[in-house]
């Protein structure tokens, strides 16, 4: 993993990225919503922009779509600069958070709108609308109005409408935010399958990290208008570079301050208040605010893979079904750890106040810094 910035399975065999963003910034008055940033979106990939609200992810998407004028930078699509192109001439389409279906038009008219304004002949328009409705499974609903559809059906209509002009890139602005949990999971699978089969590049915005992990080829994490880290879901999950990314992906046990004790070929030895640990991989380039991030599920009883060990006192145990969450405390420093283990029906839960020998795998933790850049 020489360069995790471009670590994408699709990146290897693609020459030029489909969308190339250089120094793109956006501001609202004096507020800098996006600080000048670079981003490459490869042809055919599912790239998710992930971040909490206010991180600038939606502004970035809207700037690419053309709804928000950039304050600086270039947006290149297929090698051509499109930053000055009006919205209606940009070669890609958007799925909106509120779907933005035209309330006075039927599903068929909504889906066919992109072709209608291009003056496509009636017969051809109808054929293509039928095909698009077939893809999203709404053939039966073509005569209905948006108000007569369920949330999931509205979502599919919006998707079919965005696909009708066969764009190579579709921008999706939190399209699943309005759906309930069960429907959202179903739509996640549907979107992912659709993206794979159609080969259309998806640029997807969400604040939900589990959604980003299950759907994306790559994830771009944003924070306060800048890109914090870009990588595959596995990279971000197992190798977060900053505390922010680590915390966002659930590595809630942060041990600090950390000092690098020794650097070996395949590992780094760090000194922390709770002990000396071995971490797989080289240390980060920067060492400002260095900390050790350990996932709750990486902790477990000491064994031959969990070679980093520490003695911890049990503070609380909660059974949450398939998992058991144990709150632990390091006696000398009072550092608190959260451990998530698979519930074992045969095992007796540990007593509160008892001391356990807990370990974690050098490969299942990460050294993180204050900020990624």
């Amino acid at each position: 993993m020489a360069n995790p910035e471009t670590g994408s399975p699709a990146a290897a065999d693609v020459g030029l990225p489909l969308l190339r963003i250089r120094g793109l910034g956006a501001r609202f008055g004096t507020v800098e919503a996006i600080k000048p940033l670079d981003l490459d979106v490869n042809d055919g990939e599912f790239l998710t922009i992930l971040g909490p609200s206010g991180s600038g992810k939606t502004t970035l998407l809207r700037t690419i779509a053309g709804f928000q004028p950039p304050s600086a930078g270039r947006i290149e699509f297929d090698g051509k600069d499109i930053a000055d192109l009006p919205i209606n001439r940009r070669p890609f389409n958007t799925v909106f958070q509120d779907y933005a279906l035209f309330p006075h038009m039927t599903v068929r008219e909504n889906v066919g709108f992109g072709l209608r304004v291009r003056g496509t002949a009636k017969a051809q328009l109808n054929d293509r609308v039928d095909a698009a409705l077939g893809i999203v499974g709404l053939e039966e609903f073509d005569a209905r109005y948006p108000s007569q559809l369920s949330g999931g059906q509205q979502q599919r209509t919006a998707l079919a409408r965005a696909m009708i002009c066969e764009p190579r890139l579709i921008l999706l602005d939190e399209p699943l935010a309005a759906l309930d949990a069960a429907l959202r999971r179903q739509m996640q699978n549907f979107l992912k399958t659709l993206q794979r089969q159609s080969g259309i590049t998806f640029l997807f915005v969400t604040h939900d990290q589990s959604e980003a992990i299950t759907m994306s080829d790559r994830i771009c994490v944003m924070r306060s208008g800048s890109i914090e880290q870009i990588g595959t879901p596995r990279e971000l999950y197992y190798r977060p570079k900053s505390r922010f990314v680590a915390a966002f992906f659930g590595a809630s046990n942060i041990v600090e301050p950390c000092r690098i004790h020794e650097t070996r070929d395949d590992a780094t030895i760090v000194e922390t208040p709770v002990g000396q640990f071995r971490i797989s991989g080289p240390p980060p380039d920067s060492s400002s605010g260095l900390a050790l991030a350990i996932r709750p599920e990486a902790l477990g009883p000491e064994d031959e893979t969990r070679v980093n060990t520490l003695e911890l006192e049990v503070v609380a145990v909660s059974f949450v079904g398939s998992e058991t969450i144990t709150e632990l405390r390091h006696r000398r420093t009072s550092q608190v750890f959260t451990m998530k283990t698979r519930s074992d029906p045969a095992a007796r839960p540990p007593d509160i106040g008892s001391i356990l020998n807990i370990g974690f795998d050098p490969a299942e933790c990460a050294l993180v810094t204050e900020a990624a850049n």
Binding site: A65, G66, R90, F96, A100, F113, R116, V117, R161, C165
Partner: protein
């Protein structure tokens, strides 16, 4: 129980009193329009449609009615064009100076005493050397009803999601196509309701018209002139007709509004945002 019933009864009485005092005079005029008077008293044995027949033979009144219809329709159409443009501007750029300025100014002719509006327009037309006549009345009425149409259209536009326009552009529509396929269809009902309301306002408008009319009188102006000469039962018939027409407009408006409810037809509820 007894006290509740008493309360109900008093409430009903008050309601009845209010409605009677509102509608009894109107009803009286309507009834009287079918009878003749003798020495200041109604002669109940003379039921006839005679006054109406006389009314229809009165060519001056016929002309006045035609003028009223013409002025109403023309003023509404003119106001609609300007109100639509102004509302779209205010909706798409709510913080722009022109929109904010308009927001304050557009209601002035509607809120100012009609005598002021009428007088200022009169002075303006005189200074500009424009002779008084139907065109000046149309301008006066258009200015007067502009605000009401503007407000109803803007309410509807503000209720529409901004992303609809974004979506239309995103799908390749030009500004003109977006207006034609997305905005205009959503303004159809508000245009109809505000048009009826504005027409009713124009149809009844007297004060501004008095200042701006030349030799062509509208119906209320004609009525005013007739009363000054002397009250005849013919006037009862005329009032009854105007009333009937106004009621038809009101019912049409209520019907259109009812059909439009739920899609931003509510004038007051959604105006403040």
């Amino acid at each position: 129980m007894r006290r509740l019933r008493l309360l109900d009864f008093s409430l009903a009485s008050v309601t009845a009193f209010v409605y009677l005092s509102l509608y009894l005079p109107i009803l009286l005029v309507f009834v009287l329009s079918f009878f003749s008077m003798r020495r200041g008293r109604v002669n109940w044995e003379t039921f006839s449609l005679g006054w109406y027949a006389k009314l229809f033979k009165n060519e001056a009144l016929g002309d006045a009615l035609l003028n009223s219809l013409l002025v109403g329709i023309a003023a509404v159409l003119v106001a609609m064009v300007f109100a639509t443009l102004a509302a779209i501007n205010a909706n798409s750029r709510p913080s722009s100076r022109s929109a904010q300025f308009l927001e304050y100014v557009i209601f002035l002719p509607f809120l100012l005493p009609p005598i002021i509006t009428g007088l200022s327009l009169l002075i303006y037309f005189r200074e500009a050397g424009i002779p008084r006549g139907l065109p000046t009345i149309i301008v006066g009425h258009a200015v007067f009803v502009l605000a009401i149409i503007y407000r109803i259209l803007l309410t509807r536009l503000n209720a529409l999601s901004r992303s609809l326009v974004d979506a239309a552009h995103d799908l390749g529509a030009s500004n003109l196509q977006t207006f034609r396929y997305i905005i205009l269809p959503n303004l159809r009902m508000p245009l109809l309701t505000s048009g009826i309301l504005a027409f009713a306002l124009s149809f009844d408008e007297t004060m501004i018209t008095l200042f701006l009319t030349g030799t062509d009188a509208t119906l209320p102006v004609r009525l005013y002139a007739m009363i000054r000469v002397g009250f005849t039962p013919e006037i009862n018939a005329l009032i009854a007709l105007i009333l009937g027409f106004s009621i038809i407009l009101t019912v049409a408006l209520a019907y259109a509004w009812g059909r439009n409810s739920g899609s931003g037809g509510n004038l007051i509820a959604k105006t403040s945002k």
